[in-house]
């Protein structure tokens, strides 16, 4: 689905990503972990061809990522922060707009909007509210609904669980588990290790511009011998030494 070879990205004089190599195959859920500012969102923006590559190559569906046809793009669903949410219109209008863009037949679209809303939203009247008036969690949910409304083969989600209450976050995990099949792949960047552990098949860790870990979840947790957060802390080396210097706490 996605293949990245020797990818580097430089903004001005700052190297943000350096020699990244990874592959996402069908039926895999790749979770990208890393500190804030590690370059996770930049990597996603590069995959989605929103930001220009400095070096290397990205291929999606075995084609260069910047030469995908509209049909290829219709096979990708994206929820990247709240960038694509049109706040001036209602949730219903937005999902209809996205569905039409991805050429979902009208009757199917109506059904999917109704189903997604019933599943993710407690109050169905929220569908007619303008997105600008939604809470952070509601925006996250509507962005997710828009990403899956055309049932894409490749789902790219940037921090899908942040801002969600545990109940809805778990609903999203269940949804993703059901969504996943042999033809589909999911690429997620996230900090929420609890939810990542429930769905990930592959783990990548970004640190200091490099992909410092890239393997299966089993390898990462040593066949479940250690918790995901402990495994991550082994790689990222938290700055504990500095804590000893703070004597006023």
């Amino acid at each position: 689905m996605i293949k990245i070879n020797h990818l580097s990205k430089i903004f001005g004089k700052t190297k943000v990503l350096d020699d990244i190599n990874l592959e996402l195959k069908p039926n895999e859920v790749y979770c990208l972990l890393g500190k804030n500012g590690a370059g996770k969102t930049t990597l996603i923006s590069l995959i989605l061809d929103l930001v220009e590559l400095t070096e290397g190559e990205i291929s999606i569906f075995d084609k260069a990522h910047d030469s995908l046809s509209a049909e290829d793009k219709n096979r990708i669903g994206v929820a990247i922060e709240n960038l694509a949410l049109i706040e001036e219109i209602s949730g219903y209008d937005y999902l209809t707009f996205v569905g039409k863009m991805y050429k979902v037949p009208k009757a199917i679209l109506e059904q999917r909007i109704a189903d997604l809303f019933r599943y993710f939203f407690e109050n169905e009247s929220d569908i007619d509210k303008n997105i600008g008036k939604y809470s952070t969690g509601m925006k996250k949910k509507i962005a997710f609904c828009a990403a899956v409304i055309h049932t894409p083969d490749l789902l790219v989600l940037d921090e899908p669980f942040s801002g969600l209450d545990p109940l809805v976050a778990n609903q999203m995990v269940l949804f993703l588990k059901k969504y996943q099949n042999e033809q589909r792949s999911i690429f997620i960047s996230s900090h929420d290790l609890g939810y990542v552990q429930k769905i990930a098949t592959q783990i990548g860790v970004l640190d200091e511009t490099k992909l410092v870990y890239n393997s299966s979840l089993q390898n990462f947790t040593e066949e479940g011998e250690q918790a995901l957060d402990a495994a991550l802390l082994k790689i990222l080396h938290p700055n504990e030494a500095e804590l000893d210097k703070i004597d006023w706490i």
């Binding site: 509209a70 960038l83 049109i86 219109i89 209602s90 219903y92 209809t96 303008n130």
Partner: protein
């Protein structure tokens, strides 16, 4: 019962005025209807100012027929937008009632719609302004209005109801009879009185022939509304500058009109600044020379789907349409009364419009600006775009000096085509810059 229905409609109307947009719309419609009524009456008076001039008299008659035909035609065309609401829903306490009472009630309440109110304002204003044949005009126009509405009702019976065969036959025959009578009989004055009476009873007969309830209630479920309107109105960063700009334009052009009528002198001596205000520049220098700065989320949706430039253009154009229409209404409701050279006015305005639309695509792609405030301190669009727009207006206003400068029109149109082509060609290359600029934190 009819009073109750009238009260319900009145309450609904006043409730709608609580929304500022509705209120603004109603006020605007009121003045537009009154203005065009005044305009029609004024033109008729001009035609008839010379009694001995046969040509002028025939032109006046022709103009009256034109107004009446227009009223009848647009009333008939309303059948494409059915608005049936079962009266029973509101008036349960009066039911059961006789078929005839119900029919009369529904016909009368049909006329309690804002469409008829504004059309009546138009006709009554024309009636007040007119000096000759005013009662003839009023009776004919209202005859045409009522007749066309009843004809429209009759046609809609065939669409909305399942009728007995006698009802279908009678309705179709009545419609054909009306059309044939108007086609073959020259004296339409009598027909304008008789046709509404005939259609009223034909409608009642059709009403008695209904064998099934309405196939569907044709009140549209208001879920998806015009998203282009919402994107304009619900975006404070767009709404505020446009309203301020239009209000300024309206005030200054009105002051100019008063000055011309009272002193015979144009504001700013009819020089560059005056034409800058007449042109549609404001829409572009305030908003549309930086379309994606205001609608960056909309743009990201296109970018994610790799929507080609030529498919994005119609969408921007639909968003542009409402401000353009507002500008056209403001400009052409006032300026023609202050400036009598209509050829120049139309050429100047529409050449400018096409030029500015094409260049707005280009500026939006090559020089985007992130918009983080309602009124950004450094301006909301590129200064280069504003500068080019001002130059264009200044150069085109040279057409007031000599007819030779009309050669500028094809030149401007060629420049517009070039600007559009350049925007089209560089879009895919510039999209990375657009993303980095618009989403710069």
């Amino acid at each position: 019962m009819i009073a109750s229905l009238f009260w319900i409609n009145l309450k609904r109307f006043f409730k709608s005025l609580k929304k500022p947009l509705e209120l603004l719309g109603q006020i605007l419609l009121f003045f537009v209807a009154g203005f065009y009524g005044f305009f029609a009456g004024y033109i008729l008076n001009e035609f008839e100012s010379s009694k001995t001039d046969k040509l002028a008299n025939s032109q006046a008659n022709y103009f009256i027929v034109l107004i009446i035909s227009f009223v009848a035609l647009i009333t008939l065309l309303r059948m494409f937008r059915p608005t049936y609401i079962p009266q029973r829903r509101f008036l349960l306490k009066y039911y059961p009632i006789s078929l005839f009472t119900r029919y009369v009630a529904t016909v009368l309440t049909d006329f309690q719609k804002s469409y008829f109110f504004y059309l009546s304002i138009f006709l009554l204003t024309a009636f007040v302004v007119m000096k000759n044949d005013k009662f003839y005009f009023l009776a004919s126009a209202f005859g045409a209005l009522i007749g066309a509405h009843l004809l429209r009702r009759l046609i809609q019976y065939l669409i909305d109801f399942k009728l007995k065969s006698a009802g279908i036959l009678a309705s179709i025959s009545s419609i054909l009879i009306i059309f044939l009578l108007f086609w073959f009989i020259e004296n339409h004055d009598i027909l304008l009185v008789l046709a509404p009476i005939f259609l009223f009873f034909a409608g009642f007969f059709a009403d008695t022939q209904i064998i099934e309830n309405r196939r569907q209630e044709v009140v549209r479920k208001k879920k998806q509304t015009n998203i282009y309107w919402k994107m304009l109105w619900n975006n404070k960063k767009i709404r505020t500058p446009l309203i301020v700009g239009f209000a300024l334009k309206l005030i200054i052009l009105s002051v100019d009109l008063v000055m011309v009528k009272l002193e015979g002198k144009q504001l700013f001596d009819g020089k560059f600044i005056y034409w800058l205000l007449v042109s549609p520049t404001i829409i572009f220098t305030y908003v549309f020379n930086n379309t994606w700065g205001f609608w960056r989320s909309l743009w990201v949706n296109f970018a994610l789907q790799s929507t080609p430039f030529n498919k994005i253009v119609p969408i921007i154009f639909r968003a542009l349409l409402l401000p353009i229409l507002a500008d056209i209404i403001i400009t052409f409701s006032i300026v023609p009364f202050a400036w009598s050279d209509y050829v120049f006015l139309f050429s100047f305005y529409f050449t400018n419009l096409l030029f500015l639309i094409a260049f707005s695509f280009l500026w939006s792609v090559i020089l985007p600006k992130p918009i983080n405030q309602v009124i950004p301190k450094k301006g909301s669009t590129t200064p280069w775009g504003a500068f080019a727009s001002f130059i264009a207006v200044g150069v085109l206003s040279l057409m007031t000096m000599s007819d030779w400068f009309y050669f500028l029109i094809p030149l401007f149109l060629i420049l517009a085509v070039i600007a559009f082509k350049v925007a089209h060609d560089i879009y895919s290359e510039k999209k990375y810059k657009l993303f980095e600029t618009l989403f710069k934190e």
